[in-house]
Amino acid sequence: MKKNQSNHGLAMTLLKGRTFIVLIVLLIFFSFAAPNFFSQNTMLLIAKHVALYGILAIGMTYVIITGGIDLSVGAVVGLAGMVAGGLINKGLTLPMFGVTLYFDVPLIVLITIVVGALVGWLNGIVITRFNVAPFIATLGMMYVARGLAMLHSNGATYSNIVGKPALGNTGYDFFGSNIMGIPVGAIILVIIAVITAILLKFTPFGWHVFAIGGNEKAAKLSGIKVNQVKIMVYILSGVCAAIVGIINSAQLVAAHPASGESWEMNAIAAAVLGGTSMAGGIGGIGGTIVGAFVIGVINDGMVMCGVSEFWQMVIKGLVIVFAVVIDQFQRNLQAKMALQARGEEKETAASNPGGNLA
């Protein structure tokens, strides 16, 4: 029986770290398959690419842990880019005063993030106060936000969003640049990941997020302000999406209203690959980041190998489903082990009835 258990223990460790193992295997595989893959530059590049949907996936992880989903994040990426691009290129015209205001970049970034937060807040309000299923509420918001992004410029792209020194609004390209060779997007990803991981694991807010996903009724009965926490979570997701919108438009030096289309799917995939359960109550930021990197390594690795887009899609899809299959396998195993452990406890208790007294 002992041996059996240690086998289970090893299996559990492997299963728990499965996404990480997949990531390592992929890295080794592509290092052999593609010359130049295993280099500092390529790794930084992957980090830069991963930053975009990785940040989305962080917000998404919170939302999914509460048992919800946020389909609007891709559209918010587009909207945020347009808001920032518009403020830089056109400024803010106030017809009643007949003036056009140009803000400096930090303020533009702040306004853009507030727009993202506002979208998230609206999502949260519709979901909690009007009791609309998150899938529907955020699906609606996806269309609304995308439409607003289009309306903002009447469908046109804001190109060359670098600002003018005379207007004092230069510096937006910072978010697409490198600091000592490290892409700013990747740095922002790390900062957000650390903050949100701490928030989720070590603060009452984080515990409440888990509690709501685990059993909403119980959470409510135990005094958690469920609605408030949920609204906060959607705001966080909106803010993450706005930040991605800023990074993306800064990298391209252009804001296109159709940017970010279907990125919510990559975000969900990263979260799920990282072990976040769509049923809610289970998940973590670390796992999500690893999941995002798995997708990123597959994407960039296959491009460097010259694999066709069609195969890339097939392989990405298989990896996602495979990850969830293993996820279920792990849960079953865990449940079985818990049962077994309980059985053993009873056994020891039975064979040594006076143990506690001695």
């Binding site: 593609a34 010359p35 130049n36 893959f37 280099s39 530059n41 390529t42 590049l45 830069k48 690419h49 975009l52 389909l71 699906l139 269309y143 289009m150 009447n154 469908g155 046109a156 792209t157 190109s159 060359n160 697409g176 640049s177 993306n248 990298q251 391209l252 030096v253 252009a254 296109h256 209203p257 159709a258 940017s259 970010g260 289309e261 279907s262 799917m265 994407n299 960039d300 491009v303 460097m304 010259g306 066709s308 887009e309 069609f310």
Partner: protein, 340 residues
């Protein structure tokens, strides 16, 4: 750029359900079967279609979020108004189902004619036939369908000629030698294949031109940006990038700039204002302008002439040449209109 990206499969079903819920109430003409009998088609082919009875011209295009289609719709609309028609401009968002519904709307509205940049070479045939059965002539612009004798005109940009013209400029800019990469459009899209084979018909004549990477970026800017960055990792020596459209070319130019590289020849196809800006600032070599405005105006003019005289006086299939745009003539390009 010419085809907006479809939503991911998971969302597609929902999106379709939503759009059907949104437009489902409008089925006044559902009595007319989608497929016409050969006899009625033949009879109608003999005598010209006279329109549904009103003076309304329907202009159906893909989403105006793409400036190309916006220009197209606006040009056709302006021309039709000038010719004395009432105009209804609608978008099918590259969804063949939605397009069929819009055709139904036009039929119910007794439209005089339909000008359409269609949502699929095969999927559109039935809709055009249905309009024909209801005595409404359809004039296709920008994209063809896989059947002739159904629409009155099919006026399209000569993608092949355009891609070849700009490929020549590309080879010239590369000095007829060196490594280059190609960014393809969405691989399921006919135009992506047509443009790519036209590129290669020219480029492959030069033995010193070596393609080291070929990837699709799905007509999209962010994707092009990321793919070029990745391609540069495995092929740091590339001297040129040939792109299936301007959106990707602009993305590629941004990636090259971000990598701190200079003198990389980049070309695209479409002739967008964003590309024009990149050509002016020297980040791109050129693009092939598809004359969207001209094609759209031709559609409206031919519709008018056909309704008045019973004939357009032209073949059904008409190819409009593209214009190679480089720094020499980029100043004449604005909003897909070449004023040369």
């Amino acid at each position: 750029m010419k085809h907006t990206r479809k939503l991911t499969a998971g969302l597609l079903a929902i999106a379709m359900a939503a759009s059907m819920a949104g437009c489902g109430g409008n089925n006044a003409s559902s009595a007319a079967p989608a497929s016409s009998t050969p006899a009625s088609s033949a009879a109608e082919a003999a005598k010209p279609l006279t329109g549904g009875g009103s003076k309304i011209m329907y202009i159906i295009t893909p989403s105006h979020s793409n400036p190309f289609f916006k220009t197209e719709a606006e040009s056709a609309s302006a021309k039709a108004k000038e010719l004395g028609y009432e105009v209804k401009v609608v978008s099918h968002d590259d969804d063949a189902t939605k397009q069929a519904e819009l055709f139904d709307n036009a039929i119910a509205d007794k439209a005089a004619a339909i000008i359409c940049d269609n949502a699929g070479a095969d999927a559109t045939v039935a809709a055009v036939k249905k309009a024909r059965d209801n005595n409404i002539p359809t004039f296709l612009i920008d994209r063809e369908i896989n059947e002739s004798g159904v629409a009155i005109s099919q006026i399209v940009a000569n993608n092949y000629q355009g891609a070849k013209a700009i490929a020549e400029k590309f080879v010239e800019a590369m000095g007829e030698k060196g490594e280059y990469a190609e960014l393809l459009g969405k691989e399921s899209d006919t135009n992506a294949g047509v443009r790519s084979s036209a590129f290669h018909e020219i480029i492959d004549q030069y033995p010193d031109m070596k393609m080291v990477a070929q990837q699709t970026a799905n007509w999209e800017q962010t994707e092009a940006y990321q793919k070029v960055e990745t391609i540069l990792q495995s092929n740091p020596n590339i001297k040129g990038i040939v792109c299936g459209n301007d959106t990707m070319a602009v993305g590629a130019a941004a990636a090259i700039k971000a990598a701190g590289l200079k003198d990389i020849a980049i070309v695209g196809v479409d002739g967008s204002d964003e590309a024009a800006e990149q050509i002016k600032s020297g980040n791109m070599v050129g693009t092939a302008l598809q004359q969207a405005a001209l094609i759209a105006e031709m559609g409206a003019e031919q519709a008018d002439q056909y309704l008045k005289t019973g004939s357009t006086g032209k073949d059904e299939k008409q190819l409009v040449d593209c214009i190679a745009i480089t720094k020499d003539n980029v100043d004449k390009l604005k909003n897909f209109v070449y004023s040369g």
